[in-house]
Amino acid sequence: MYEEELHRLSVKLLDEVEYIIGYTSGTLPFRSRPFLCRKKEEVELLTFDHFSGSNLTRYLLSKDLREKKVAILAKGCDARTITVLLREGQIKRENVVVVGLPCYGMVSLRKLEKHFGSLRPQDFTWHLDTFTFQGKTQSIGPFLENTCQRCLYPNPPLFDYLVGSRVEYVPRERWKEDSLKRLEEISSEKRWEFFAQEFQRCIRCYACRNACPLCYCKECFAEAQRPYWLSPAATRSENLFFHAGRALHMAGRCVECGACERACPLEIPIALLPLKVEELVREHFTFEAGVSPDREPPLLTYRENDPNEFIK
């Protein structure tokens, strides 16, 4: 999407920034991956498609890019992450040029394969929010990632340049698919069986934590020795402890980009926990992460009428 406009802008940008962090096509079908564009000749490699799922903001925190002036491609959720990082003083605004990408949602290869069986990239042609497969054009809605189906900010709230045209609809209203709501409706015993079965499979490879730009602690509580919270053994209870702990650390920070869920090699729907916490924060503390830089984050403030009836 928006390739030509993106390339023209990138050539101009390379005069004022040292690197452009973007996506390029991957070495496997249906995969695109993070890419550091340095020289004008490499600009042609920059792409943006329905499989550019990783959140590039985490590369802004790496040692060698932190001090340099860098441009970054940012979908709606990625741009919100930049706002959160600015608020938390991790990056300097003048070092970052944000190229906003109006995003129609990332497609889940798993859902595609479940529906169409094994696929080849050449059979697909992708448009903004529809795709053509064997002559039939259909909407991407049912095949979007869970988080993208309930997205509220397709257009980046923060940007220096905006490529392409804004998305006119709010995906959550349009697709009416909310995996979080569906889970809340079933009984708590069934929910426990679902989560117990999923957390049993987790192998604690920390792909979810390392893919999340907001998980930048020097020493994560999951690997700490002093104090010693949990062991590296990937048992159900330890995995539950880790994922619940991480979700709580995301309170008022998670931008619901779903990069953690996409990073999981075992396709465990772990984003449900941070999403639940984010939903609670939105409902009860009327706060949305990464939208307005000056609002006080929820856990740094309080109100008299905060929920209190659960306390005896």
């Binding site: 070495t27 604690r204 590296p232 053994a233």
Partner: protein, 336 residues
Amino acid sequence: MRGLTMRVKMISQEQFRKRLAEKENHLAITEKAQDVHRQFLPPGIKVVKTPKEILFPSWKEMYRFFFKERSWEIQEVEEKAFSDPTFLLLLPCEARAVVEVLDTNFLREDYRDTDYARRRARLNLVILGCPAQHPTCFCHLVGGSPVWRDGKSAFVLPWKEQFYVENDEVLFGEGDPVNTQEKREIESWEKALQEKLPPPLSPDFPEKLYAHFEDPEWQDIAFRCINCGACTFLCPTCYCFDLTVDGKLRGSMLRTWDSCMFPKFTLHASSHNPRPTGKERVRQRVMHKFSYFPIREKRYGCVGCGICREICPVNWDIKEAVERMVKRIDSRCDIN
């Protein structure tokens, strides 16, 4: 490798499916083997992501300690009856990972890991040959082939609506003998398949790669890697583990999976870390499999199964990294 005493037989596809369905609760199959041979397999066989789930589980209590009557006691963990499967269906590359890498590390004569040895002796490998090379794998690059086998474990190859089976007494039951003409046909087909494969890495690649330790190329290769443990945990050849104590007055020493990608892997108590950034750690992963392990054990530490390429969150590709280093080496650029 194919001695005369090798028992070979042909069985029909129905017999293959029926026998597997019968022994279902003793069986497991790796996910990649299931993808390649899906159409021949009965449903309901336990799927494991990697052979390590059975041979080298992600966590295992090595021993227990507890404080009793004012002194400490240490106790081995008594082995409860194994519920793990006794047969594992896997692809030649994964079998090679078990036989040529995991066994080398855990069953070395000086210190045998008794837990691994017990599990390995109990498990019968059933190697399902690949009819053709899968697009994401590169077993040819590291000296493997789609029809590799170790001559001891059972080997099954789909052959013209039937299955050619080697070395199996228990699993598939009786089969009709293989006449010499058919045997020669199979062997020539295998030879043709292997000739068609692209050439492997040059024999002196490990030493040459070793000399390119300081090559600036590593910085670019390592840029996009987010240093998670996904590739190392699901790689059939990665055997690194951690020994941690859990529990204060009573607890256990746990052997769990560990990854050279994690910063704490080499962090000294003095907070010095010989591999402080992602570049050193990505370089260690590639150098271990394509230089250090081959220099020590005369075989590659990677079997080219391509699992790490498929599951990497940012599509970091070890084959691409090796090919870039090959280009650097061939371009004769001296770096020091």
